[in-house]
Symmetry: C2
Subunit: 279 residues, 2 copies
């Protein structure tokens, strides 16, 4: 079985690494960056580095793991070139615009829109981890638009990585992800920027990191290119979430300003409810 | 040696627990809440539960670990009642107003203002952990106002808990803590509140928590009473930090709104610098 992974960063590299350890699979890696090509090969993430055309030729499965703002540009070209029995899976963190962009492509039926919910704040081939997807959740969107056999092979692939797949409409996916994941990233990136801006003494940032800052700012270490693309592709819901966040912060600011200890405490008690939900 | 811990929550309880395991120390616990008294005793955090007056009588060291907005009210009373060889240490997360409030007390010299930088997002006697302070940092403020022997016994106490102490002016302390720790807490509490507000489907919060939300919202599980007091007592610097944070978020919002992918990426690349500092 020939599987081609396009984009050998954290997610693509980790998928390639796990697939390569399975019997009877030959993993081809495609990446625009020569440095990433070389690194992915040296790290043993893929059997072979290939050009896009060579990667697509006779591939059983093609996995597209590049920044979400690049997927729409490349996907029609990939679908044009694949055989009618190849399955193409994208693993981007936004889904609605990608699905819309190829809605009328004559090979839309060979495409499966997926989002494996796994990752770390690191990036590039050297961030690729063995077993990254084990026991994690995967979301497949608009599955009624995919051929039954294409969907089946995508499901088997994610299952072989140790994932549990659920299904969702692509717009629902983008909304929920904006509210929960994307907003967390904005919040953390801007926390990092604020602290770098106002705290002139870097040694204090290091010394006081253990007081809550370190975990809250963790996501600010994430890849800027990946996240600029996600915020752009999910603009509507990211802005909706961000506006609500800014409103809550401004309201809280007013309460502190007015020495309204009772109501600051009350809002934090509401927020504590997150304990119950995450339990 | 008699050590009395006033306030048997996460911090006081953990200090009591560690001290109680040391030779030749008798730990007395004081707490307003009967439930906390009973729990602390049952959990073996203290040798004895005492009233405030019995706790203070003949104590060598008194540790005050109650919400920071209650310390100023209690501290003069404690200083009035102790002997001239007793050391009183407060372990609150804000220091400047507390130090100001007893600046002219005739026993100011017996007081040491400390802030052991340790904790978890849980609270109450049942959150008290053995070894919580091991290898963590402690800050002592305005140390020139304390008698040499009082300072010495505070230093020895924190050293026995496994802490490394540094020194800082109380106003400097409050500024740095606001910028780094307190802002992180506001950011996290309001993230929790926002997500609870906009995400109507609680199961999504649980299902998608692994996508960055869980670590970013961790601090929203913290004790509302403790944090309402901290924000109130450190209002000036907390508001300064919060205003800067809201400005950065609003600026970022405008960039996303204007499809300025280049500059959203640029700001996140600046924020990435936090990697270098925390390394």
């Amino acid at each position: 079985m020939k599987i081609t992974v396009i984009g050998l960063g954290l997610i693509g590299g980790s998928i390639a690494r796990d697939l390569k350890s399975q019997l009877n699979i030959k993993v081809f890696g495609v990446d625009l960056s020569e440095q990433h090509q070389q690194l992915a090969f040296e790290l043993g993430l893929v059997h072979e580095i290939a050009s896009l055309d060579d990667g697509l030729k006779d591939a059983d499965i093609v996995i597209v793991s590049i920044p979400v703002d690049k997927i729409e540009g490349l996907l029609p070209d990939i679908l044009d070139k694949i055989s009618s029995r190849t399955t193409v899976i994208d693993v981007g963190s936004t889904k609605h615009e990608i699905c819309l962009s190829i809605a009328s492509h004559h090979k839309r039926n060979r495409f499966v829109a997926a989002h494996p919910l796994a990752g770390t704040e690191y990036s590039g081939p050297s961030a690729a981890l063995k077993g990254l997807f084990q026991n994690k959740k995967n979301i497949i969107c608009d599955s009624d638009k995919s051929d039954k056999d294409a969907l089946e092979s995508a499901l088997k692939l994610f299952e072989s990585l140790g994932m549990i797949t659920t299904f969702m409409a692509s717009e629902e996916h983008d909304k929920h992800l904006a509210y929960i994941s994307h907003l967390s990233h904005v919040s953390s990136f801007m926390l990092g920027l604020t602290v770098l801006d106002i705290e002139k003494d870097e040694s204090q940032i290091f010394d006081l990191a253990g007081t809550g800052f370190e975990s809250t700012v963790r996501l600010a270490k994430s890849n800027p290119k990946t996240w600029a693309a996600i915020f752009s592709k999910n603009k509507k819901y990211v802005l909706e979430a961000l506006d609500s966040y800014i409103n809550h912060l401004e309201n809280f600011r007013t309460l502190i300003l007015n020495d309204d200890v009772e109501n600051t405490e009350k809002l934090m008690t509401f927020s504590n409810d997150i304990k119950r939900i995450l339990k």
